[in-house]
């Protein structure tokens, strides 16, 4: 049996915490991910650096995409007829569902890559891969 690539457990944990932040433990899992990132900040294993960098960055961007955009949509239109007609809810619920499920799906892809000991770049919003 081939040896597991160096840093596999940390990479898998990072992806798992990213997913937990989006699903069962929002906020708490992000804090845990940030602590993990801080603890392993000087790691030289490319797998660890890659997955920590990707998940931390995309957690931030994803949080902004979900919370900030959805709440500002509601805030901006709170007194507008659009809200009373229900159309805003169509936009907000669809927006939230699509963005959230896309982020979860990306996380699943990342987790599968981490488990296989491979690097991963989140599509569209992931930072560039380090050399």
């Amino acid at each position: 049996m081939a040896a597991a690539p160096r840093g596999l457990a940390v990479a898998v944990t990072a992806e798992a915490l990213y997913l937990a932040n989006l699903t069962v433990l929002p906020g708490l899992a992000f804090v845990a991910l940030a602590v993990l990132g801080w603890y392993w900040r000087r790691a030289d294993a490319p797998l660890v650096r890659n997955h920590l960098r990707q998940t931390l960055w995309v957690s931030g961007v994803g949080g902004a995409l979900i919370a900030l955009v959805a709440s500002s949509l509601l805030f901006v239109h709170a007194e507008h007829d659009f809200v009373r007609g229900g159309s805003l809810w169509v936009v907000v619920v669809l927006y939230f569902t699509v963005v959230h499920s896309t982020l979860v799906l990306f996380g699943i892809l990342g987790l599968a890559r981490a488990m296989a000991g491979q690097s991963f770049r989140f599509p569209l919003i992931g930072p560039r891969l380090l050399p």
Binding site: L94, I108, A112, M115, Q118
Partner: protein
């Protein structure tokens, strides 16, 4: 093809695809009737179009499962099928019974069909998805028993693997739970209670075992990953499925007259139902990432990965969207349910049947895979159908949210038909996306006729 008797699967696959085309055509007819109410009336009323659309779906998926089992079991068991003749005979019985049933739906009023088919002897008709007349239901039982006998005997005399055992468990469960379609108590609450034992325990229970087994089989073949690794994943997935799915039946019991505790049981366990689909997606991608060989059938690999993703989205996410009792209080029976139903059925069951067809059909036709040109066309059909299904789901979700708002949340709720008028735009968009889906399906069928540099199996 390792075993000659695997050829029994081929007619099942062909029939499945033919009936799939019929299902989509009736879906389009019905979709148009949502916005042009008298389209094809009185020749094909809405209730008939809907019945044909859903019944064809069930029948063609059953054809697909049976074909998949006839292909998979000899190879897993390392022995010829117990009786290829029985498999062929049952194919014709099932096809003729299915075709006669659909024709009878179209040829006469449903009440007349009930009268002619002996519904007064044992009343089983008139319930959603279980509309089949008594002789058809009896025929399904006969075909299922013969099929299970054939498959079980093959497994018993050959090698026993986790995949074939889980497949058998799923198929036996499918047959056993269908028996509740014969139980139709006059108490409406009891009727609906047990009706879900067929419908829910099929699609969120035993069918998932069949799905897992078919997917695991194809993944072993196309990735070359060790059987032990794949089987461990399979055990985890089916355990999660059964733990969440069985008690998760409670999410159908919120508002039908059953005790209030179902709102808790249903909410908690069905909130966990996305987990097996989540695991299935990780499983599929993990296996492909760890593959030990580049299988030439890239289309089959694409369908396998697509099954993971789309079943997670359709069954997992869109199921979760309206599964908690306080949310479901507002959303039950709206277009949100239709959105979930479309993507879940497509993502989980349509795609897994197309996965096994994509893998097995070239081999049944004497080559390891289709020519690169045919595969490119097949992959085009994958994207056309999958993307259009995503948009069908989004448009139905939008219609559903607006419907909930206008009909159930607003301070001045509007009547059902008034709301239907107001959400017509989304129905139009759904219809046009449905046309794109049909184009994808035509492209899929066309891919079978594309020649190229074929290599012998």
């Amino acid at each position: 093809m390792q075993f000659k008797s695997q050829a029994a699967a081929k007619p099942y696959f062909v029939a499945a695809i033919g009936l799939f085309v019929g299902q989509i055509l009736f879906g389009l007819i019905m979709g148009l009737q949502y916005v042009v109410g008298d389209f094809l009336f009185p020749a094909i009323p809405f209730n008939v179009a809907r019945m044909v659309h859903t019944n064809l779906l069930i029948v063609w998926l059953l054809f697909g499962f049976m074909g998949g089992a006839y292909y998979l079991v000899p190879e897993e068991s390392e022995t010829e099928l117990y009786s290829p003749k029985l498999a062929r005979a049952m194919f014709w019985v099932f096809l003729v019974a299915g075709a006669l049933t659909i024709l009878s739906y179209l040829a006469m009023p449903y009440a007349r069909l009930a009268e002619l088919s002996g519904n007064n002897i044992v009343q089983t008709m008139g319930r959603e998805f279980l509309e089949q007349p008594l002789p058809t239901k009896a025929g399904i039982v006969v075909v299922a028993l013969a099929f299970l006998f054939n498959i079980t005997m093959t497994v018993l005399r050959g090698r026993k693997t986790a995949i074939s055992s889980i497949l058998l468990l799923g198929l036996w469960g499918l047959a056993i739970f269908f028996l509740f379609s014969f139980y139709n108590p006059s108490n409406l609450v009891l009727d609906k209670y047990y009706w879900w034992w067929v419908v829910h325990l099929w699609v969120e229970g035993v069918w998932e075992l069949i799905l897992g087994a078919l997917l695991a089989f194809v993944l072993i073949k196309v990735t070359g990953v060790d059987r032990e690794v794949i089987e461990k994943w399979l055990y985890v997935i089916i355990t999660l499925t059964l733990i969440t799915g069985i008690v998760g039946t409670g999410h159908h019991y919120y508002w039908i007259g059953t005790p209030e505790y179902w709102q808790w049981w249903g909410s908690v366990f069905s909130a966990l139902e996305p987990i097996p689909f989540f695991a299935m997606t990780v499983f599929a991608f993990n296996m492909v990432n760890r593959r030990r060989r580049e299988h030439p059938n890239r289309a089959a690999t694409l369908w396998a990965l697509g099954t993971g993703v789309m079943s997670f989205l359709g069954a997992g996410i869109w199921g979760f969207l309206h599964t908690l009792a306080p949310v479901n209080y507002y959303t039950h029976g709206t277009q949100i349910t239709a959105a979930h139903g479309h993507m879940a059925f497509y993502g989980a069951y349509v795609m897994v049947v197309l996965t096994i067809i994509s893998y097995a059909m070239p081999i049944l036709r004497g080559r390891p895979c289709n020519s690169p040109r045919a595969q490119v066309v097949e992959m085009w059909s994958f994207w056309l159908m999958t993307i259009s299904m995503v948009f069908i789901t989004l448009f139905l979700t939008a219609a559903g949210i607006l419907q909930v708002w206008l009909q159930r949340v607003s301070d001045t709720p509007l009547p059902f038909m008034v709301v239907q008028e107001k959400i017509g735009l989304f129905y139009w968009m759904r219809e046009w996306t449905g046309v794109v889906f049909l184009v994808g399906l035509v492209v899929y069928v066309a891919s079978f006729f594309i020649k190229g540099d074929e290599r012998p199996a």
